[in-house]
């Protein structure tokens, strides 16, 4: 769909340009250490999280102000999620899950700023997150339960004849977890942003620009929702996997 301006008569679609990784300074090659727009937006994410959770709670008031309320709300939200889903012994891993949740939710919301770069729309980023969860949870499962962790794949409540088949399905679904875990987040973020960009491209045509602007507004509202929900989904799935690692028996 993206073509050069002259060919489409004023219609310029570059919906994917927003995702291009560029060096911050100059035009050189992107080495692993090069500060890029990824670096900038990751740094902004860290700064925003620090601003909310550290600066916002600076006064440590018994009766919280606005920012402190939000910080406490985020804390309580994730803490309760970990406690409810992963159980009491999952609370030990709360700081890691809080890190994940805060990172994803802030990266998603910062990505909604016009002209921003959405770090979580990149499979490279979400795959690292998902693999980190996958590897951690698998290692934790074996450390905590030893070989008993394999009981996760052996559905003892099913009829004996079905169990090998179910075990195969369980193993496959276990290894598909990081794939779906990462692609769900990146796909959602990328698709929404690209659609907004496409609508924005249509806004160049005077006749349909009001519809286009309305559509962008509607999409933006939806994206705000999606940003939060995807962070929530990612986090709660992490809690579910953690629960599987701590209590592998169905």
């Amino acid at each position: 769909m993206a073509t050069e301006a002259p060919a489409e008569g004023g219609l310029v679609f570059h919906p994917m340009d927003q995702f291009i990784v560029k060096p911050l300074f100059g035009d050189g090659a992107v080495h692993w250490y090069t500060p890029t727009n990824v670096t900038l937006w990751l740094a902004l994410t860290v700064a925003a999280i620090a601003a909310l959770l550290v600066l916002g709670t600076r006064d440590s008031k018994i009766v919280p102000g606005k920012t402190q309320s939000i910080a406490e709300l985020a804390y309580g939200f994730v803490y309760k999620m970990v406690e409810d889903v992963a159980g009491k012994d999952g609370v030990r891993y709360f700081p890691y899950i809080m890190t994940l949740f805060m990172f994803i939710v802030f990266a998603n919301f910062l990505g909604l700023l016009p002209m921003s770069f959405t770090t979580t729309s990149h499979i490279a980023v979400t795959a690292v997150l998902a693999l980190a969860v996958f590897v951690t949870v698998t290692v934790l499962g074996f450390v905590k339960n030893g070989v008993g962790f394999l009981g996760l794949f052996w559905v003892s409540s099913a009829p004996l004849a079905l169990r090998p088949v179910l075990a195969l399905i369980e193993v496959i679904s276990y290894f598909v977890r990081p794939v779906s875990h990462s692609i769900r987040l990146a796909g959602n973020m990328m698709a929404g942003h690209a659609v907004i960009k496409v609508f924005a491209g249509f806004a160049a045509i005077a006749a349909i620009s009001p519809i286009s602007v309305l559509a962008i507004t509607a999409m933006y509202g939806l994206e705000v929702l999606v940003s939060f929900i995807q962070a929530y989904v990612f986090t709660i799935l992490t809690c579910v996997y953690l629960k599987d690692a701590l209590h592998p028996h169905h």
Binding site: F19, Y33, F103
Partner: protein, 183 residues
């Protein structure tokens, strides 16, 4: 789909990125190390900030608040008990005062009744004394009157006898008058 300018730029420095950049910048594998490197640094920074500063602080705030709320509830409970005690004491004082006032009223009533009875008795005695006195006086007066009538009658009789030229015999006259009066 890709912007030719960027493709050109990629081609210029990356050398042969044009092909895989045909769709999604997400699949630009040459950029993966960069993204992953900075992501790990960012996640590490967030983890350090959260686990060292933010989370303990928020946990402390929440625990603090919980403590304050618990204390306040306990204090409120205590105050409520005190209020109930005070109310009980007040009710008791009120009941005592009522009983006291009833007692005083009864006492006053008995005292007044006694006084009244005294006064009535005294008045009765006085009245009966006065009545007796008056009775005596009336008796005296009556006796006096009867005596006077007798005297007058004797005198008159004597005078009449004298006027008729009889010899006045005092004793006979007196006896006759007395007999007449008695009759």
């Amino acid at each position: 789909m890709a912007d030719t300018k960027h493709v050109a730029a990629d081609a210029a420095h990356g050398g042969g990125h044009a092909a895989e950049a045909a769709g999604m910048p997400q699949l630009e594998f040459a950029h993966f190390p960069n993204q992953i490197f900075w992501l790990i640094i960012a996640l590490g920074a967030i983890y350090l900030i959260l686990s060292r500063v933010a989370l303990p602080r928020i946990a402390a705030i929440l625990a603090d608040r919980q403590g304050t709320i618990t204390n306040d509830i306990a204090a409120a409970e205590e105050l409520k008990l005190k209020a109930q005690e005070a109310e009980a004491a007040y009710q008791k004082a009120l009941a005592d005062a009522r009983a006291e006032s009833a007692r005083i009223t009864a006492e006053a009533r008995t005292a007044i009744q006694a006084d009244l009875d005294d006064a009535i008795a005294k008045a009765d005695a006085e009245i009966s004394a006065k009545a007796a006195e008056s009775e005596a006086r009336i008796g005296e007066i009556r006796a006096g009157a009867v005596e006077s009538v007798e005297l007058v009658a004797k005198d008159t009789a004597a005078a009449l006898v004298a006027a008729l030229g009889g010899a006045s015999d005092d004793d006979a006259v007196n006896a006759a008058v007395s007999a007449q009066l008695k009759g």
